[in-house]
Symmetry: C2
Subunit: 340 residues, 2 copies
Amino acid sequence: MAPVRNARVLFKDHPQDIGYPEPGQTTVYDDTQTIDPDNVQLHGGFLIKTLVLSIEPYVLSRMRPSFPLPYTIGAPITSFGVCIVVRTETDKVKVGDHLYGDLAFEEYTIRPSLDGLVVLDNKHNLPWSVFIGTAGMPGQTAYSGWKEFAHPKKDDIAFVTTGGGPVGSLVIQLAKAEGLKVISSAGSDDKVAFMKEIGADVAFNYKTTNMREVLAKEGPIDIFWDLVGGETLEAALDHANVGARFIECGMISGYFNGGAPVKNLWQLVVRDITMRGFVVTRTFPKYSEEFYATIPEKIAKGEIKCNEDVTNGLDKTDEVLLGVLKGKNKGKAVIRVADE
Amino acid sequence: MAPVRNARVLFKDHPQDIGYPEPGQTTVYDDTQTIDPDNVQLHGGFLIKTLVLSIEPYVLSRMRPSFPLPYTIGAPITSFGVCIVVRTETDKVKVGDHLYGDLAFEEYTIRPSLDGLVVLDNKHNLPWSVFIGTAGMPGQTAYSGWKEFAHPKKDDIAFVTTGGGPVGSLVIQLAKAEGLKVISSAGSDDKVAFMKEIGADVAFNYKTTNMREVLAKEGPIDIFWDLVGGETLEAALDHANVGARFIECGMISGYFNGGAPVKNLWQLVVRDITMRGFVVTRTFPKYSEEFYATIPEKIAKGEIKCNEDVTNGLDKTDEVLLGVLKGKNKGKAVIRVADE
């Protein structure tokens, strides 16, 4: 086999100040490199071909030097993805194995070892993209955060933000499985329709609906799943029940303005609220076994629904990221890099 | 006995906007009323003579109509206090009993029942003022909040705000009893000296010392006892350890500006922080028995130290409150209304 293109998405520069990344400035698509899959030296490792990559707000975080695991300027950005092994010099993997983990945004990568990767056992024959969505890191986040911190009780009311995304949509379905009333918000009517489809009792578009009126009518809330922060968090605090649990999973409203200030934290005191932030990598391991034993099967049976928005081609990376940050994606944003 | 003066502190008007109360405007001292202790009709209840009353930030909260239990305009303000029964028509109390509870700011009150009051058993012969300080609501707050939410572990570092007050100073002593390193802040050098006396490893005056530098050098912190909020809370978030517990007991920095905004709540997520607000009345009952079985005795033996700032006379109420809100008191602020 002759050398083939090995296109990459390189990290060029930090986003200006605290703003949105700028296509072509923050990252750059580079298709000048080639690779010879049959002959490239593997030094005892293995060669993978990237199939799907996940685009999520977390990618922006890693573009900032002050956040954990910042990207390296000049190197490909990385995110969760699924790849296939095309050649190997180690018996730790076989050709044809599908691997999941933090992958570089490039068509081919040589990996020295399985560090940071797991071999996927796709016994329910799910599309590989599901393993970066509801059966991947976002699903792990929803599942472990809910199991560890929600403490649902009969007649509780849950409010789930970004309910049209892969984290929020699984949270809605977990809350409904417990018999709770679920209020959920998202930024488009498409997402509102999806939230209703998966069982949300009250679903609204926060861009066109007054959130405080919804919460005043449908609350007070006992569980708040927060991916937004800022004014949304303030509204939730003002409409929380005594003893409410606030699960702080992300604060996208503060990503572009140095942190969206919250003025009414006093409500934490008055209402006996527990606010718990978490990072999935620390919370999930305890739940890994039960997650993989149940969630993929439920997805295969249609008992848990996913919502994807797939874009073809690494060259679309920057615009897909910008779309996600502005809430324009219709479901879990996936870059399909290659078919098998 | 002829009629005697029954001076009162009446709630006149809400503080302007969200500002400080204004002496003479927010409350007014009225000494025009008299009472005849021997002959006033008790209607089956009992007559109490007020001995000591507690002044704390909580009094300001109750001056605002939006807070729980707001005061009634034209009626005396109330706060925790200790009184003595001087006449009774019920056998629920005896003349000479000392009672603790939410008392009106007046020299004499007729109470119909023991509702909201408890009979004090002062077997260690403590000054009555202690029962509105370290052995009263502030101490209950410190004790139950610490026991319920601190989860101290070996080698943890605690950061205690307002460590010179009755809540913070007991928290310092509870943390030291667990063997923790304690950092504590207060607003005067007198209070810093007291915090050192009771065992704080690092004590500083936040008005003259850069808090972030202290935390950078002495942290990261595992337990944060917060009575301040705002910029202090922001500094604590930026210097917290992974898995830290933030106990939100009050947010005095936000009382005069509509709530001090906090911009970096994102740190809750990154650092797996639990932030727990609480109101003493809901948390304390579980600990009431062990509190009264241990704390008064330790105070009597000098194993737990208190710090009081006693002012004589109901007519000083408004200036003492203003002093507390501005941090000018030297210890637990007490109004001594009468001797027995």
